[in-house]
């Protein structure tokens, strides 16, 4: 029962703050609302016993990505700046697209007969680690290594773009 109430609270937080994050007219506030959404997502992972995923969510998303966005906001925005709100036409159009998309997707999902597993398997960090370094069937060492090159390349790309000679 307690978990059920938690779920509903987290679900409400996610939906409400997602909406606020894309409609707020102050960038810093939008960033903080995004942080709330990401924290609530970590909460969802906790209540289904996926503690490792929740940890990653907190460290990388809430800790890393939001911090990056906050830096960007501080470098580019002045205090009190307000984003101009989109035109009515644009809001209606975007709203229609989103509602239609969500409607179709949800109705398809509800129409499908999912066979829920009866096993309640929690998360074992050791298994994840072993699988990440395993090269056989169901091993993930190849994507693990390839993503390291991806991270290297994107680091270089970020430096290339952001670094400039000192100007006077």
């Amino acid at each position: 029962m307690g978990a059920q109430i938690m779920f509903y609270i987290l679900a409400t937080v996610i939906v409400v703050f997602s909406f606020l994050a894309v409609t707020s007219r102050k960038v810093m506030r939008a960033t903080v609302y995004l942080l709330f959404v990401l924290l609530a997502t970590a909460g969802l992972y906790f209540i289904i016993d996926y503690n490792f995923m929740a940890g990653i969510q907190l460290i990388v998303y809430a800790g890393g990505i939001v911090a990056l966005i906050v830096f960007a906001v501080m470098l580019t925005e002045k205090i009190g700046d307000k984003i101009e709100s989109p035109s009515n036409m644009q809001m209606i159009l975007a709203g229609l697209i989103s509602i239609a998309g969500a409607g179709v997707t949800i109705s398809v999902l509800l129409g499908h007969d999912f066979k829920q597993s009866t096993q309640n398997i929690g998360q074992n960090v050791a298994t994840i680690g072993e699988n990440l370094l395993n090269y056989g069937k169901d091993g993930y060492v190849l994507p693990f290594e390839v993503v390291s090159i991806l991270l290297l390349a994107s680091m270089i790309a970020a430096i290339v773009v952001a670094k400039r000679k000192f100007e006077n």
Binding site: V108, H112, Y135, L142, L150, A153, S154, I156, A157, V160
Partner: protein, 475 residues
Amino acid sequence: MDLSNFFSIMRGEIVLAAIILILLLAEIATKDKKKIVDLAIGLFLIHTIFGFFGVGEGVLFGGMFKASPIVNLFKNILNVGVLIILFQSASWVKGKLEEHNRVSEFYILLFASLLGMYYMISAGDFLMFYIGIEMASLPVAGLAAFDIYQKRSAEAALKYIFLAAITSGISLLGISFLYSASGTIFFDELKPFMTNDSLITLGFLFFLVGLLFKISIVPFHLWTADVYEGAPIGVTSYLSVISKGAAAFILIIILFTMAKPIMELWREVIYMLSILTMFIGNIFALRQKNMKRFLAFSSIAQAGFIILGMLSGTQLGMSAVVFFIATYIFSNLGAFGVVYAIANQSGKENMDDYNGFYRTNPLLSVLMMLALFSLAGIPPVAGFFGKFFLFMSAASAGYYWLILFAVINVTISLYYYLLVVRAMFVRQNDNPIPAFKSDVYMKIGLILPAIGIFVLGLYSPIYEHINELVGMFLK
């Protein structure tokens, strides 16, 4: 897993990753940065040549990485394309050295993106596919913003990375639906689950969005013209040729193997998109004055022809598409090479500036004409046979109305390609672009596509070789 096996199957990827590391070390070790250009081109030339010999076939990492002869052949085609781009861009990179103080980064990002494409086209599951496609697109965003003092360069990069991110998000949503219905992310294991179930259908359609964006199929083409115009020309030709070719290749692999059971569904989608893409690409290409935008829209129209070949779903169709992509790579790189050479020398990019170009630079004009004729599909150059095989494959599946429509579009495209030829050969100009000499790298970069256009057009065993490899792959 046998280690010797591993090195023979994944040799191309390992060598390319090693080249990236060597360039990183060279950046630290050398004072004379211009040498890095020669080093990068030399290493990649060796890599390209050895790619044609003795790369094994097989499956690695529990089915995540698959190499078959046709995939290896396609990697070689991409290698040749990238090599041409390296030759064409060498003088530009050297010229930017003073201003930017960055050389090795250009090559590292380009090779990282190419490495992503390798992994993308030999992926056996959605995870490697996703990482490959992201690795192919993220460094390119950095490359598009390479001209950091140019306003439109940053705009191009922003537009590219945001739209790439949202389309890959939609693609991922589709993958998650396919996973929820089947419990697997491997292409082979997913095949029996591909039915007309609505969840599978929706998931598959969402999944296609990411790839259609990369090939710039209408209605996911809106980024193309602005990004092509804003990015440095070398990056533009990379996007329009290599990135598009690789995405089209993995699309055809997925459609012909994993999605074969729902062929009726994707046939209708591809049919509609092909008509739209050819038409809209052509209509907009008619009005362009800037050569980069012009080539952008013409490449959208070409993408419509590429997916037209996929409709048949047979061996004939796949060989036709692979052959067409090869001819397209050479023809488009020829055209981009001439635009590149002119922009390097004089900074001019508009069609009107090309008036009277034949008087001053006859060789470049002839190459441009050759490349444009190949794009338009005039015999005997390569592009004609490319289009001919595409139409043959569509005819074998009975799409006669579509072929009629495509032929009309070829005629429209012929008109606007001839506009450029007319500007160069017929029109008078009081102060045309003066005669200039390019450096040796640019010359090689212009001769290679010309050779390619002729060889692919006149030497028929190449098509038969492709056809044979495709037959082995589809069996």
